[in-house]
């Protein structure tokens, strides 16, 4: 484990040295990695840091409001409403890698505009160690690695948490006083709810993934999962109030892990599973079935796409 206090001191020093009097931008996703990177950079250079949060429409329930609140102390925070533009970019795209690519591209387009307007010479990123490994190994592409630097001519890119694992980032977050981020937020993938929807993204499926994930997070709080969520798989037949429903199939996933590299599907009791099932099918008229995913990683990954 890294010594958090020492780490913070060194990282702030490094950021200060590297960025100097210039302006820097950072993309805030709301997750712990970018939040820690932003807090470190803000500590180092204050309002020379312009944190940009892009609401892709692929975020969890209430996420944008929470970001607004957590980072209210950074006066330079910008929130970009880009929900419709992302849906357009994803229309008709079904291949998982293409999906990630489309999101990455759109994200760059949004961020590029903000970066130019903010007159920033530096880009700060919350890339952590496993992101680099997974990208290098071509298992999945992470949208916060690569792409942007080719489009915007930054003088430098600073990745203050590049050598840390997730558990170490959390430790640093706690030491930085970002308690809410650690306590209330599970890891959330860069491409957001898009990787929890198998096949094409539509606003209808997004609503299902978002609402169902909120139910799962709420019901499983006491199990303290490393990550818990709901994914939308496809459609199947059901019957509700004497009417046939051709509704969505929702998979519930809840895993425990140290670093996301391996994961164990959690053993949940039947009553809890039934309550989740009942709340999801009862409040979402277009869901016909709820499944529980019992697969560990490996052979599965944590997210679906």
């Amino acid at each position: 484990m890294v010594d958090a206090e020492q780490f913070i001191e060194d990282a702030v020093e490094e950021l200060r040295e590297e960025i100097g009097d210039a302006n820097a931008v950072i993309a805030l996703s709301g997750g712990v990695d970018s939040s820690v990177a932003a807090a470190l950079a803000y500590e180092a250079i204050g309002d020379q840091l312009i944190p940009v949060y892009v609401d892709t429409g692929l975020m969890r329930k209430g996420e944008t409001d929470q970001i607004r609140e957590t980072f209210a102390y950074m006066e330079s925070l910008r929130i970009v409403e880009a929900q419709d533009r992302f849906l357009d970019a994803l229309s008709g795209v079904t291949d998982p890698e293409e999906k990630r690519h489309a999101i990455g591209e759109q994200f760059i387009r949004e961020f590029e505009r903000e970066a130019r307007e903010s007159d920033a010479d530096y880009l700060v990123q919350g890339t952590i160690y496993p992101d680099r490994i997974e990208s290098e190994g071509n298992i999945k592409s992470h949208h916060n690695v690569g792409g942007l630097p080719e489009r915007v001519d930054f003088e430098g890119i600073v990745e203050p948490v590049r050598d840390l694992y997730k558990d170490e980032v959390r430790d640093v977050a706690r030491t930085l006083g970002l308690e809410a981020i650690v306590a209330e937020r599970m890891p959330f993938p860069g491409p957001g709810l898009a990787v929890r929807i198998v096949g094409e993204i539509t606003s209808e499926k997004l609503t299902v993934a978002r609402e169902a994930t909120a139910v799962v997070e709420d019901e499983l709080e006491s199990y303290e999962p490393w990550q818990a969520f709901a994914a939308v798989l496809g459609k199947a037949t059901g019957v509700k109030g004497d009417n046939r429903v051709h509704g969505y199939v929702v998979a519930v996933r809840s895993v425990e892990s140290r670093d996301g590299m391996t994961a164990r599907a959690q053993e949940l009791d039947w009553e809890t599973l039934q309550r989740i099932q009942s709340r999801i099918t009862g409040t979402l008229p277009n869901v016909s079935r709820v499944l529980y995913d019992v697969t560990h990683k490996p052979p599965a990954t944590i997210e679906y796409e």
Binding site: M1, Y129, P130, I133, E134, G137, I139, Y165, S257, R258, D259, M261, T262, A263, R264, H296, K297, P298, P299
Partner: protein
């Protein structure tokens, strides 16, 4: 301080091997698997896992360096294939939770884990015949050769991943290997 380098065969968990060594206080670095053997200055080597034996670089040459070597997953398979054993696709892939029975409690690497240990695995291929000079150290219901050792040459192999958080006694395996390297 003992120095144990990790040879990268492009596995998903290579960096966790480095972390596990760092966490037990061993001096460690990640080496490309094409590093010339004469440039290696470590007291011991870990050959990482990886997707393809054809992409294992110069790993086989490192077995002649006369330092302890621990082959993990593909690293163990490279060891077997180049020392006269055999590697084939297993009948049953080993993924996630596997219970390994330790068959030799005096084995320097895994003997202390006897009688059994729960491990996390991720492999399709496996060692199907021991190389000359090696003896069986562990087996499971899904894989007949889960661990093999040649204590005379200090060459060891495990088919599972001691470096991941879900392997029960992973740290102990690295501690035992460190003892071999001292």
């Amino acid at each position: 301080m003992v120095r144990i380098d990790v040879v990268d065969n492009h596995g998903q968990f290579t960096h966790l091997e480095q972390r596990a060594l760092r966490d037990i206080g061993v001096d460690t670095a990640l080496l490309d698997n094409t590093t010339p053997p004469e440039e290696i200055e470590a007291d011991g080597l870990v050959l990482s896992g990886g997707p393809d034996i054809a992409d294992s670089g110069r790993c086989a040459e490192y077995l002649d360096l006369e330092i302890p070597v621990l082959g993990i997953c593909l690293g163990m398979q490279v060891m077997a294939a180049s020392l006269g054993g055999q590697v084939d696709d297993g009948e049953y892939g080993g993924y996630a939770d596997v219970t390994v029975e330790i068959v030799d409690e005096n084995d320097p690497l895994v003997g202390s884990l006897a009688p059994e240990t729960r491990v996390w695995a991720s492999h399709a291929d496996e060692v199907t015949a021991l190389p000359r000079g090696f003896s069986l150290a562990g087996r499971s219901d899904v894989c007949a050769i889960e661990a093999m050792s040649d204590p005379d040459r200090d060459l060891y192999g495990v088919q599972w991943h001691p470096e991941v958080a879900h392997t029960e006694a992973g740290e102990e395996v690295f501690e035992n290997f460190r003892t071999c390297c001292e």
